[in-house]
Amino acid sequence: MRKQVRLTIDDRQITAPAGTLIVNAAKQIGIDIPVFCYHPKMEPVGMCRMCLVEVGRPIIDRNTGQPVLEDGQPKIQFGPKLETACTTPVSEGMVVRGMSEKAKAGQNEIVEFLLTSHPLDCPICDKGGECPLQNLTMEHGPGKSRFLYDEKFHLEKRVPLGDLIFLDRERCIQCARCIRFQDEIAGEPVIGFYNRGRATDIVTYTDPGFDSVFSGNTTDICPVGALTTSDFRFGARTWELKSTASVCGQCPVGCNIVFNTRREAKADGRIVIKRVMPRQNEQVNEIWLCDKGRFAYHYTENGARLSRPLVKKNGKLEASSWDEAAAIAGGKLRSADGEVVVLASGRLSNEDLFNLKSLADGLGGKALLYTQMGGGDLTARFGVGAGTNFGEMGAGTTILVAASDLYNEAPVWHLRVKGAAKRGATVIVANGRETKLDAFAKYVVRYAYGDEVETINGLQQKEKIGEAITSAENLVVLFGSDGLGLNGTSNLAAACAELVQGRAGKPNNGLIGVWPKANDQGAWEIGFRPTDDLSSELKGKTVYVVAADPAGDDPQLAAALKEAKFVIAQELFQTATADLADVVLPAQAYTERDGSFTSGERRAQRFYAAVPAFGESQADYAITALVADAAGVELADSAGQVFENLVVTVEAFAGLTYEILAETAEQWPVVGRGDMYYGGTTYENTRGLGAHLVGWGERGETASRPRVQEETELRPKEGQWLAVPVTKLYDQGLTVRSSKLLESHIGAATVTLHPEAAKRLGAGAGELVEISLNGTTAQVSVLLDETVSASVALLPRGMGLPISGPVVAGLKKV
């Protein structure tokens, strides 16, 4: 621990670790020193000069080294100048005056300077009501302007830095928080200053502009209304907004969010979501979000949503009542005599999945997880222990990222792992190609696709990497599905589990699956399992498909569904699977209901209903209860009751309650209160930090050694290619495609080839080639990447081609 020093701030005596900045020492005892450029998550720069305070230090006698005393007290010498509290560390005996006449005058004068060139257009500014400059002007600003209005420096007010972020150049106070965030935290320095003096401008360096998946965060920490999102720009006044706590449903990180809602005239008086804001959870997402999480929510309000139950009559789906649809679906399930398959995805909540699993069990059927990634049984056993926090990892911790492109698969983990690396953690990236995390890794291990398991098994034999793994105080292994399907990931998970199995249950140690869906971990914990031959499982069965679109993803699965005995589809949209169904049940989006997700770190977190349901849709768990009732299985139909049943049935959830998930604790830095100038407009967490599932070790069980299966080798013949699936953050998935804001980020289907290989094919960058795999042929445009091997073709998932795992493919020039 750092040495503690004693000091006085505004007549209050405190102790703080040496080196603490005055502004933070003050914050810890509830004293707010105003800042604009300082942000507790970034290095201090002392640019805006807002935090000027008087700083006095004890006079030390040169001969004795002791403080000079005056009336028995150390004599304090104040400097002639005010000092910036954001750059000055505390020292023993220091006296800080932040409220003195001199300090206040200094702060007021800085506000006056800032206002000389600020347009003062608060009445039309999106930041109004939550604006640090506005708030500090109320406190420090002069009542009257000494600056002639006609001499204001006018600049462009509508500058799109990218398609998601707009800059108002007049409002910018050049604090560089956005630039520093992109550089220091996101690791994507895509924006910067141009020109100098009063003409200093924020510009983007990239084409397309502001090319970063973390861009939305800059609008939260912008202390003025200079940066706004195209989503919320002129969308509402902040004081009209209500807030509902939620959890992002886009990936397994489980970022804590807030939905800001209001009743809106142009939505016929309905309550609608106006924006997504981060909600502080230092153990999960700190105060950050990725742009997918911030902007993809629009899919929930897409008018094409299913609003009524549908039943197939005379070969056509027709609107029906809940009673009729449930009776038909339930009746078919009951009469299926156990030949029932419940196929669900990790997009569903713990409650939904638990009811579905209970239904499957009650009917003697199977509960299958619709996924391309295995290993959840191992993360359930060897997952990271309670108290795990990437934000505290640093020297002594080793983080292995295996076959995962974190930037695309789970952006906030990318950010957090990068942060740990900066604090001294040893990051090892093992992948078949270059990923963005490579730049921050200490060791990069490159393998040929297919050699994943062998590579992970061999890591401990490598001199430095082996040492970093075996002698690490803490070891976290994240594995993903970059280039791998169900079999490959299952084997990879087993290999990774071997590295951590002795450490299971300890905080900051264990295995994390970088799942394709937010609640895949929960699905595994509850007992859903994937199958490597889904087609066979579907044929001839009564199939209940929930939150999955196998028919839309893969023609072979569509064919299998056509051969099913009876198909019930429960969805938000009329998917290809719903087209094939006999009964279609409209589900509520997770913004419309209560529930909980289990993150990849095995943290169960609650979300709450923010807006009313779309049409007649119902919550998935409630629909299942309704259907189950008709099938003769009794299930709870409120989220709270389902969760109570879940915790007594599934051991990993033992002891948890909704109340426990809703508990909060003091977090540092303090954000989201009255002083938005300090942390930004991120919301304080008042509705729950969530709780870890019970660990394997805590359950008193001993871990068995994971078994590695034989992988069938894929060897492309001459003229063939090994097509390898990779994950793209903005794909054609339901939640992105249906959110019009992100449409332009999806792009066309592509294939990534080595430049030499592309040359052999006679295709250049951007040119079209024809690819044939899994019985499908499609045209895709060529991207070049020198880090992929010559016979490999990288194909992004979810871009229209049925590729769940690596497969031999044919390529030819169009």
């Binding site: 000069r49 100048k81 200094g106 300077f113 000494r146 009063r198």
Partner: protein, 415 residues
């Protein structure tokens, strides 16, 4: 007296290697590398009383002694940004006496254990940079730069680096940022360059003129140098004289020479023999000194000039006569600082923009007394709050101009 810095004025073609060598060139560097320990070199410079010629007047040897010896490598950077209006000495030194300057760089590098040194020149000095590159190459060929110099283990290379036209890059930390390829904006200090400098490594940043003193100090010893100048300010200084004088130019004189001697004996007096009104001793960054008899007889050294409410700075003496309105001077300097403010800190960025509007209004006769009052208030409001000295310096002419020449502001303004 023979020149020490501007020796090329006494010795023709001193900027060629053979002539420089014939005149004792590189003897001091060789002596240092082959016969002295680095700390002995630093001690000599410390004892000589040499102070930085860039403006701040910080003791050079002491600066070298601050280098953090637990953090390597070390760098030496020569500040050849020379962008203070009224300063034009470094260019003459680099063009006329380049080897003595480069030898100074080399000796400083040896003293602090640097194996790489950079000469940072303002962008407009591209011809000077090309000229220095040529001289550096000649030195390499002659064995004065490169590996294992004079048969020892000491190696040194010198590189030139051009700025891109920003006054702020004369500020040492902005200069370092610029070399690193970043925006030329000052860093927070502390830490200072001797502990955290170029690429985060201990770095000595010295002005061209400062370094050019070093070879002769080493050759002739510290006491010789101390015998020149005054007790407060040892040695000689190149005064860049400009403004309303008959013979503007660079004059190398011992510290302690009076303003009167500089202006009248060397500068030939004032154009049309008019009276001197004010003196800006440190270029545009100056307080304006009222040029009364007492001021004219004040010796030019750091301490004495301070008694006049001014600063010697880089000794770029701009002379103002009674044809010059101080409101015009103030307007000029503020235009300059507004243009050159880097924009990093609020008071400088906003204050200079504001002051420019006010000085423009006052000078053009559109202002009134309240504008003068406001100008003064804005300037004082900037003082003590800026991130670096630029913003502080910008206020000097404003505050002292209004205070010391009130008539120039009241005449123009309509009450």
């Amino acid at each position: 007296m023979a020149h020490i810095i501007l020796r090329h004025r006494d010795i023709p073609e001193l900027n060629t290697l053979p002539v420089y060598q014939r005149n004792g060139g590189f003897a001091a560097f060789k002596k240092a590398v082959t016969g002295m320990k680095p700390e002995e070199v630093t001690a000599v410079v410390k004892n000589s009383g040499l102070r930085g010629r860039g403006g701040a007047g910080f003791p050079t040897g002491m600066k070298w002694g601050f280098m953090d010896n637990n953090n390597w490598p070390h760098y030496v950077v020569a500040n050849a940004d020379e962008s203070e209006p009224g300063t034009f000495k470094d260019r003459e030194i680099m063009e006329g006496n380049p080897f003595q300057f480069l030898e100074g760089v080399a000796i400083a590098s040896y003293a602090v254990g640097a194996n790489a040194a950079y000469v940072y020149l303002r962008g407009e000095f591209w011809q000077v940079a090309a000229f220095l590159d040529q001289k550096i190459e000649e030195m390499e060929q002659a064995g004065f730069l490169g590996d294992k110099l004079f048969g020892t283990d000491y190696s040194l290379r010198i590189y030139t680096h051009l700025g891109a036209g920003a006054y702020i890059c004369g500020e040492e930390t902005a200069l370092l940022e610029s070399i690193e390829g970043k925006r030329g904006q000052p860093r927070l200090r502390p830490p200072f360059p001797p502990s955290f400098g170029l690429y985060g490594k201990p770095t000595v940043v010295n002005n061209v003129e400062t370094l050019t003193n070093v070879p002769l100090i080493l050759e002739n010893d510290a006491d010789w140098y101390k015998s020149l100048g005054t007790a407060d300010s040892a040695g000689v200084k190149v005064f860049s004289l400009s403004g309303r004088v008959k013979k503007p130019g660079n004059y190398e004189l011992p510290f302690g020479t009076t303003f009167r001697e500089l202006i009248y004996t060397h500068g030939g007096g004032i154009i049309d023999d008019r009276p001197v009104k004010g003196i800006m001793a440190a270029g545009a960054s100056s307080s304006i000194i009222v040029a009364d008899e007492k001021a004219l007889d004040t010796p030019m050294d750091y301490a004495s000039v301070r008694t006049l409410g001014g600063d010697l700075g880089s000794a770029s003496v701009i002379v103002l006569d009674d044809t010059i309105g101080i409101d015009w001077v103030v307007n000029k300097t503020i235009h300059f600082f507004k243009h050159e403010s880097c924009g990093k800190c609020t008071p400088c960025r906003e204050g200079n923009y504001w002051m420019q509007h006010l000085t423009e209004r006052i000078h053009s006769g559109q202002g009134d007394a309240s504008d003068v009052e406001l100008l003064n208030s804005v300037a004082r409001q900037m003082q003590g709050k800026c991130l670096c000295a630029l913003g502080e310096f910008a206020t000097m002419a404003v505050v002292t101009g209004i205070e010391r020449f009130p008539e120039d502001f009241s005449v123009k303004t309509r009450v």
